[in-house]
Symmetry: C2
């Protein structure tokens, strides 16, 4: 059987994702689609709008055959680490190809850019470090360094576009492994990643979340109806739900403990605590702490690690993919997993009980994901229950 991998968050699942799945099937000619999906907390440092089980159902009902979880140690990281974890998992699961959405839409520019950046790697790293010392944020420093190095002969890829950046890192991670997977890309349709106004029947997940949380507009036109149905009358998760917990943690934590948390840099601690004292919402808090040096996303990731109390030491230990957790499968997906099971080089876990040590970080993240003070009790209880005893979903 021929498997193609995709890397997703489905926050929430929408028509553009459906298009991506169908195009992946067409381009790869695969029999099986495997999705690596982020669990409770996502790459931009946010809780998922809905739990991973519901998002798994959305995926399985729209063409995905196997959903596995991208562990916390990768799902909440900058693009390079995020991509390395996801590609590693797809490789372990014997995918022959992987396919990502990008603004560019052609694979050649990605391959060529990875190659050319590899040649200039040392120069680039040195320049980025220099610009960051001058107070620039990591993404700005990267852009400036690339512009400087490739001024005369520009890269064939616009690396200011968010999906081009992710795609670039997927291709680079695959390259690092010796390119065991064939990279494919699909041009993103409809609204750009950052567009707030949705156009046509495809809207970005960002636009859909704005509708859900801010404008209360209908979402039925931009999501498959069965996926939209899962969001109706549901408790939705946003940073504001967790603000009382984050604030409490900032007000009770020892300065040395705060400094030991992953991504918390020297000197920012007192600033965070002062801002927490004065803010009665997460939005107000973020407005107070943001500076030129820290991008919003980087600060949000820092806050996820503070919320989950995840320290530097733990994240260093979690640097390699050491297990794969199954979230759900179709019949077709089960047949595929059965056929490759004995060759997977890391444990394939069906329940949390079967490998608690390996999963410690993910279990903690799921517990805290379920712990927002204002969630209805039944709902929170069901999230806890599911995390502990639920086997993978079967469709």
């Amino acid at each position: 059987m021929n498997a193609a991998g995709i890397i997703v968050e489905y926050n929430p699942f929408h028509n553009g994702h459906l298009y991506h799945i169908n195009e992946t099937k067409r381009l790869s000619n695969a029999d099986v689609i495997i999705a690596v999906m982020s669990g409770s907390f996502l790459q931009r440092g946010e809780p998922a709008v809905i739990d991973k089980w519901t998002r798994t159902k959305m995926a399985l009902q729209h063409g995905v055959d196997v959903v596995v979880e991208l562990p916390y140690a990768f799902s909440t990281q900058k693009a390079a680490t995020f991509s390395a974890g996801a590609i590693d998992i797809l490789h372990h699961l014997k995918c022959q190809s992987f396919c990502f959405g990008s603004e560019n839409g052609q694979i050649e520019p990605f391959l060529r850019s990875v190659e050319r950046l590899a040649e200039k790697n040392e120069q680039l790293t040195a320049l980025v470090r220099l610009f960051m010392k001058e107070g620039m944020s990591y993404p700005s420093a990267q852009t400036k360094a690339r512009d400087a190095i490739f001024q005369k002969d520009p890269l064939p890829l616009d690396l200011s576009k968010p999906n081009n950046i992710l795609g670039f890192h997927y291709v680079q991670a695959n390259d690092t492994l010796g390119s065991p997977l064939m990279p494919l890309t699909v041009q993103r349709k409809g609204a750009g990643f950052h567009d707030v106004k949705a156009s046509g029947s495809i809207a970005s997940a960002t636009a859909i979340r704005k509708r859900l949380f801010l404008t209360n507009e209908a979402i039925d036109d931009v999501m498959p109806s069965s996926a939209a149905a899962y969001l109706k009358n549901r408790t939705l998760h946003s940073w504001e739900s967790y603000w009382p917990l984050l604030r409490y943690h900032l007000l009770s934590i020892h300065p040395e403990q705060l400094a030991s948390i992953y991504e918390v840099e020297e000197g920012i601690g007192p600033r965070l605590i002062q801002a927490a004292l004065k803010s009665d919402s997460f939005a107000a808090f973020m407005e107070r702490v943001k500076t030129k040096r820290y991008t919003w996303t980087r600060l949000q990731r820092m806050m996820v690690h503070i919320l989950t109390n995840t320290d530097k030491e733990t994240m260093q230990q979690a640097e390699r993919v050491s297990f794969i957790r199954l979230l759900g499968m179709t019949e077709n997906g089960r047949a595929y997993i059965r056929s490759i099971k004995k060759d997977i080089p890391v444990p394939l876990l069906s329940r949390t009980a079967s490998g608690s040590n390996l999963l410690a970080l993910d279990i903690k993240a799921a517990r805290i994901f379920a712990s927002a003070p204002n969630f209805p009790k039944d709902y929170a209880d069901s999230l806890f229950e599911q995390e502990y005893s639920a086997p993978p979903l079967l469709l």
Copy 2:
């Protein structure tokens, strides 16, 4: 001027407290009554029903002239430490006497019991240690040890009664200082400390809290009307308000961090975390964690320290009274404080800003006291505000 000291929690202020103040005046013949009052968290390991500022007003309106705060490092401790801190403060404030309510009602048995226990101190300590090793709680071990030692010639004081115990420790603490204060006691009127049903116009604070939280009965008959008015339509604090924060902390804390918290003993950590996972209220959690070895009060104190993230090292550093914080004064109280101010051996603080390092523990406790997720925003903001910028109340 002649000052008499009292040690109070006023949780909340009731007719029995008014009687105690009046009797203190009568017995001591003092011109000034000074109350050392616990701040945000109390001796039985509970948040105060209402904030310390409101309780200060209740005191000043009913015969107390000066209210100072018993710091967190003493207010949340077992009777001996609690008493040592309170008596130290009354001594620093030049009180000539102190007066406490007791079941016994005569001072002689207290003096005699302190003396006789001092003679048998070594024996007693050894026996208590032995019984605790056998799995008994500290209070049970103490009772058993005393019974064994004084079997033939019983102490003249019933030390199974809660107010006799506290009184005993006050007198003992005064004795340790060389008895600079004259001890006085008033017999408690009406219902016993632990009685739930109130009789006549005096009810215990425990009985009044039951009315407030459980039966919703009127409280006007057992409190001065101006004090009762403060409780009408107010946000009341109970452990349940803080349960989402305590639970979150237990689910996110590292096991070594948990072990470093004050009063958390080896081996209890995993039990606490498992119970937190399964409980959706503080009451359910406590039912799960209590054992023969731990009294309810001791467990609650442990939970206060976990909630405030107060570690063993910090509490060891806070062993002596190193400052006195003024919460409120009458005109008469101001005149007295002015007259002794230059002779107080520790800083007398009017605002938190004036001695933040000394006050760190109390400020943290007050912040967390104000941080329960379901408090109305205006209310929480006003508590924060008051803690930082309010001068002592003046009446």
